[in-house]
């Protein structure tokens, strides 16, 4: 097996509705694109979406107290702005498309979020045992692609979406991670995403 290499490309988005074309340069010995992963670093401050707050413990007007007074007159802070999605609190920042010069049209397209729900909290419901097979908590991993490339360029297109929804210029950085297979020897290193699903299955 040949060695996998990781190519990282960063795109800076600043303006509402910005359309950014970019190119990712691959090493000369790249033979195959194995997987694509994305990440977002938000630089602009995002205000909590107060309009989406409900009447629960984290939102609403506070309700009527037992003594008859009405609480909740202070400015409200929604502590969970992205758990209750609306058109403005949706954590999707934009759409990424990738095109290989060797192929018709695009080979990859995804909506890129900056909050990865279910990705960071450990699942302790099974104690120290392996995680529940029913859990929705999953770690992020590259999306497998597996296309051959004889060209050293990938064309990319990122279109801003969060700026349009929030009607503001929002600055953020999008990182695109491209795993490529090269002709170098692997020396025994195998990455998780290169294994088959059967090898990764948890034995309960």
């Amino acid at each position: 097996m040949s060695r996998a290499r990781l190519i990282v490309k960063e795109v800076v988005m600043k303006r509402q509705g910005e359309i950014s074309f970019f190119q990712i340069r691959l090493p000369k010995n790249a033979t195959r694109i194995l997987g694509i992963e994305t990440d977002v670093f938000m630089e602009s401050f995002l205000e909590a979406d107060t309009s989406s707050s409900g009447s629960g413990s984290h939102g609403g007007a506070g309700g009527t107290r037992p003594d008859g007074t009405v609480g909740g007159t202070t400015a409200e802070v929604n502590r969970r702005p992205f758990l209750k999605w609306s058109s403005t609190s949706n954590p999707v920042v934009g759409k990424l498309k990738l095109q290989s010069m060797d192929r018709n049209n695009i080979f990859f397209e995804t909506w890129v979020p900056f909050v990865f729900l279910n990705a960071s909290l450990p699942d302790m419901s099974y104690g120290l045992f392996p995680k529940s097979p029913y859990s929705l908590i999953v770690l992020g991993k590259p999306k497998p692609i597996g296309i051959q490339c004889s060209n050293a360029i990938i064309n990319g297109l990122f279109t801003d979406d969060i700026g349009i929804r929030k009607n503001a210029d929002i600055k953020y950085r999008v990182k695109v991670f491209v795993w490529v297979q090269t002709t170098e020897p692997t020396n025994g290193v195998v990455f998780d995403f290169q294994r088959t699903n059967k090898e990764l299955e948890v034995k309960l």
């Binding site: 074309f21 010069m101 049209n105």
Partner: protein
Amino acid sequence: MNTELAIAMIESRMRDMGYTPLDYSTSFKHCVLQGKESREIEAYNEFYFLEHDPEDVNIKSDFGFYDLSYQKANELKYEHQGLILLYNQSAIINHVRFIQVILKHK
């Protein structure tokens, strides 16, 4: 973009993807857009190359964007594929000319 450059680009792009001149045919397509008209072109297995620099027209496709008046794009594309959306931003008639590349069945 002009016709000579578009033809040279077509040959180069097709060769990159492994197509010889026998594998595709070309056709000239002149779209006449009425004022504020929007039009869809389905080009899922075809290529559309802009042959000139039309003004007051917005063109979007799967991996392409062309609008001379749009300030927030860092590049414009002259090659379009997939679902192509044309929109005439002007209130008067406008013209958009493409060279259409149609792949043949092998």
